[in-house]
């Protein structure tokens, strides 16, 4: 015989003013299964909780219903409380008579009647509650960081410093990401390479970090604490152990192609490292550019290599490694401004992107740091900057603001004024957004000290006239059309999600928003977690971010990973789906419904007793049944509704429990 105790809380006067708590407690006594009922001013307080514990012991209660505030408020409190008295915490039910009753009604009679119903429902459900025990899953103490940009490097370093092993996977031949291409950083004008490359070296030399470069994540299986990740190591055709990184092969390579690192403004050999400070500093062969792979002849690099490291037979290799946690730091890509017809569809060589400009102004870039325009190598005297190209433009680009462009445009304009004598820098803008420490000051310095001209308005057209670029725009403050004869135009193109972001997200099982940026679990309170336990986000893959924000988020993600890995095992929420294999027909309808890939079919071998239609009695038969992986199941219950034979049920919210609530009224 189940014995339910009902505890009605007054919540001071919050409940008591519109609900007659004494009457409730009296009425509860008459409900089926209720053995004890009482009321108290503050049930959540120490005396209140002691009262519940005492009553459980004195009256041998095996179910508890607390009629109080929302379960979202104090369910955890009261679960702990009943657990203290030796009851399984899942034998507790809450009747929400504050948020959903006393606070929203003023008629005391009606509100009390409703509260009575709410208690009746909770009691009915509680009678069907069963003990639930969290299952325990082991935590594999190794972390994977996907993406070797500044966010990934920082996350890997922070995790590794606490003593855990980290693998850092990067799809390019070197880690470093976009930050390696950037010349200087705002607002301090630090040299980007000078602050990044030491971190890259730290990562390479860290005893707990393994850099897996020129590799991509192929498949992720498993769940928090136990991800089995398949990584494709792309064929580099260079044995990393034998290679000394001397670079002779790159010098002698006869095949040349556009250098991605230099934004296609210069050429690189087919066997290459993207940039001199690359880590790992071992070249790879770009098979699409390599003469040997195209024609079957050449092999100069192999002949010249003193350590015999070149191996044309190298093949892609798949490795599967188990990780406890994953940090996704796959970064961003840039909006393709060729879609802007009025800016020349990318036809004018002197209309370039901000990242192109970074390479032009970089001392190790294609022009050795001298700002020369791409068309004829002349030094531009008048440089026009256009902001929000693809950002805040719902028609052709994205609705959102890319956050970093206002600042880097101010930086670029400052550099033009600084590096080119008698130059002019004109910035067309919609708004100026400088929300960061020392950012506004940086922008003001560009205007006041460096004399950058800011024009509020959008550029409607860029066209060529007698060899010059004419930038036509509107000054919306003066209300006039203006024409600027420019030598070069720099477009602040939007940061956007990687082109394969959606595909990648599906592969590893995280969600993404309308712009293909990965979703955080909560925009304010869980900014680095994803909805998939054990997978965290860092950097611009979650949304446009500048370097300080990416680094901060990487640190936060690392802290989450470390907190997870610090445990040997973790308890999972026991509210998960359960299969009754006796009822399961193995139809598999539940498998595609599950958003967490938690359900799979397994083969069951059993001995059949009695005679059955499909075979003689006592025979062993095998049949398919569904199986729920409790580590992956998040307890949404979508499968339970889909199950034709009613074999699937959700613990904590079983069909029986919910129907008991319905039936109680």
């Amino acid at each position: 015989m189940k014995k339910v105790g009902v505890f009605v809380c007054h919540c001071g006067t919050n409940i008591a003013q519109t609900v007659n708590c004494e009457q409730l407690a009296e009425a509860a006594k008459t409900l089926p299964g209720v053995a004890y009922s009482t009321e108290y001013k503050y049930m959540c307080s120490d005396p209140g909780q002691t009262m519940i514990k005492k009553a459980i012991e004195e009256h041998n209660l095996d179910r508890v219903v607390v009629a109080a505030c929302s379960p979202r408020m104090h369910e955890a409190t009261f679960r702990k409380c009943v657990n203290g008295a030796g009851l399984n915490p899942y034998l507790l039910e809450i009747a929400n008579i504050r948020e959903q009753c006393s606070w929203v009604h003023s008629d005391k009679t009606k509100a009390t009647a409703k509260a009575e119903d709410l208690i009746r429902m909770a009691v009915a459900k509680a009678l069907k509650n069963e003990k639930l025990t969290p299952s325990v899953i082991p935590i594999h103490k190794r972390a994977l960081v996907i993406g070797g940009g500044i966010a990934g490097i920082q996350a890997a370093l922070d995790i590794a410093d606490t003593g855990y092993q980290v693998d850092l996977v990067e799809r390019e031949p070197s880690i470093g990401g976009k930050m390696a291409q950037i010349d200087k950083t705002f607002p301090t004008m630090d040299c980007s390479a000078c602050i990044l490359t030491p971190k890259m070296v730290d990562a390479a030399q860290h005893p707990n970090i393994t850099i897996i470069a020129y590799s991509e994540v192929e498949k992720v299986e498993g769940y928090v604490g136990n991800f089995d990740v398949t990584i494709r190591r792309k064929a580099t055709c260079v044995d990393p152990v034998k290679c000394t990184g001397c670079g002779l092969c790159s010098q002698k390579c006869p095949s040349k192609t556009d250098s991605e690192f230099e934004c296609n403004m210069s050429q690189r050999p087919a066997i290459y490292s993207p940039f001199p400070q690359a880590i790992p500093n071992k070249p790879v062969i770009d098979q699409e550019a390599c003469r040997y792979f195209k024609t079957g002849k050449c092999k100069i690099c192999q002949k010249i290599c003193a350590s015999d490291a070149v191996n044309f037979e190298d093949q892609d290799e798949l490795v599967t490694i188990r990780y406890g946690a994953i940090v996704v730091a796959t970064g961003y890509s840039l909006y393709d401004y060729n879609q802007y017809g009025e800016y020349g569809y990318g036809q004018y060589p002197d209309v370039i992107s901000g990242l192109d400009f970074e390479r032009l102004v970089n001392a190790s870039g294609p022009t050795m740091g001298k700002i020369k325009r791409p068309s004829d190598g002349q030094e531009p005297k008048t440089v026009v900057f256009i902001k929000c190209v693809g950002s805040r433009d719902a028609n052709r680009g994205h609705d959102y603001c890319s956050r970093a462009c206002c600042m880097y445009t101010a930086k670029h304009a400052t550099m033009v004024r600084d590096k080119i004598k008698d130059s002019q820098a004109v910035v067309f803008y919609m708004d100026i957004r400088t929300p960061g420490k020392n950012y506004e000051e940086f922008y003001l310095r560009a205007v006041e000290e460096y004399g950058v001209t800011y024009v509020r308005g959008r550029v409607s057209r860029i066209y060529m006239e007698s060899g010059n670029l004419i930038v036509q725009g509107e000054d919306t403050i003066l209300g006039t059309q203006i024409l600027v004869v420019a030598d070069m135009v720099v477009l602040a193109t939007a940061m956007e999600a990687q082109p394969d972001a959606a595909e990648f997200a599906r592969k590893i099982g995280i969600t993404f928003d309308q712009n293909n940026f990965f979703n955080e679990a909560h925009p304010k309170l869980r900014p680095v977690e994803t909805f998939s336990a054990g997978i965290y986000l860092a950097g611009a893959c979650q949304g446009p971010k500048d370097i300080p924000d990416s680094v901060a988020q990487a640190g936060a993600a690392a802290a989450k990973v470390v907190a997870l890995l610090s445990k040997d095992e973790m308890a999972t929420e026991p509210i998960v789906a359960e299969v009754n294999t006796n009822h399961c027909s193995g139809c598999g309808f539940c498998v595609p419904v599950c958003p967490y890939k938690a359900i799979s079919l397994k083969t069951l071998t059993e001995r059949v007793h009695g005679s059955v239609a499909w075979g003689p009695a006592g025979k062993e038969i095998t049949r398919q049944v569904a199986e729920v992986n409790k580590g992956l199941c998040q307890g949404c219950g979508a499968c339970t509704v889909n199950c034709r034979s009613g074999a699937l049920d959700l613990l904590g919210f079983t069909n029986e429990q919910i129907l008991a609530e319905v039936d109680s009224l």
């Binding site: 929400n96 606070w103 929203v104 429902m121 958003p595 219950g637 039936d663």
Partner: protein, 176 residues
């Protein structure tokens, strides 16, 4: 609140055809319908809590059952509610695209489009049933939906259509 004032519904007609004894006329003007709400715990339940925090007043007609996801709400629960004499049922969850479980409310949406058709087919007034999306920040919307639904059901009178007095033998496929 009679059938003469234009409140002619399929439900009423069916009742008359079947000679049900309770007439709408017998229900007083201050009759309150009983509405069962299946609220997803991440959005609508939180939205209902927010309505409370903001002290937004609405009729005492609703009884909320918390479910982890609107996709957990089996259509058989809804049918059972009508069988048990609820006058209206509301299934509410996160807005499409916002589901805590990524896809649960898409199933809800599809399932209950079909459910509404079924209800029409069996002669239930579909106005007694509603599916809507109320996020955790939409306390006022919870208030509005409950108020609207109450006002919509009140002229329809008590639900007799699926009401079953001897329920025990029914709903076999579930809850065993």
């Amino acid at each position: 609140m009679t059938m003469d004032n234009g409140q002619w519904t399929m439900d009423n007609e069916m009742q008359r055809q079947q000679g049900t004894s309770v007439r709408l006329d017998s229900v007083g003007k201050d009759w309150d319908p009983k509405i069962l709400v299946f609220a997803c715990q991440y959005c609508t339940y939180a939205g209902a809590d927010l309505a409370g925090l903001s002290r937004l007043q609405y009729p005492t007609t609703t009884r909320v059952i918390r479910v982890p996801c609107s996709g957990r709400t089996n259509p058989q629960f809804v049918i059972r509610a009508f069988q048990k004499g609820f006058d209206g049922v509301l299934v509410a969850g996160c807005h499409p695209g916002d589901c805590h479980f990524s896809t649960g409310n898409y199933f809800t949406r599809r399932r209950y489009l079909l459910m509404t058709r079924l209800m029409e087919f069996v002669g239930m007034d579909p106005r007694r049933f509603r599916v809507c999306w109320i996020s955790g920040s939409e306390g006022p919307k919870f208030q509005q939906v409950v108020t609207e639904l109450t006002d919509a059901i009140r002229p329809l009178g008590p639900n007799h259509k699926l009401r079953d007095t001897e329920l025990s033998s029914l709903v076999g496929g579930i809850g065993r």
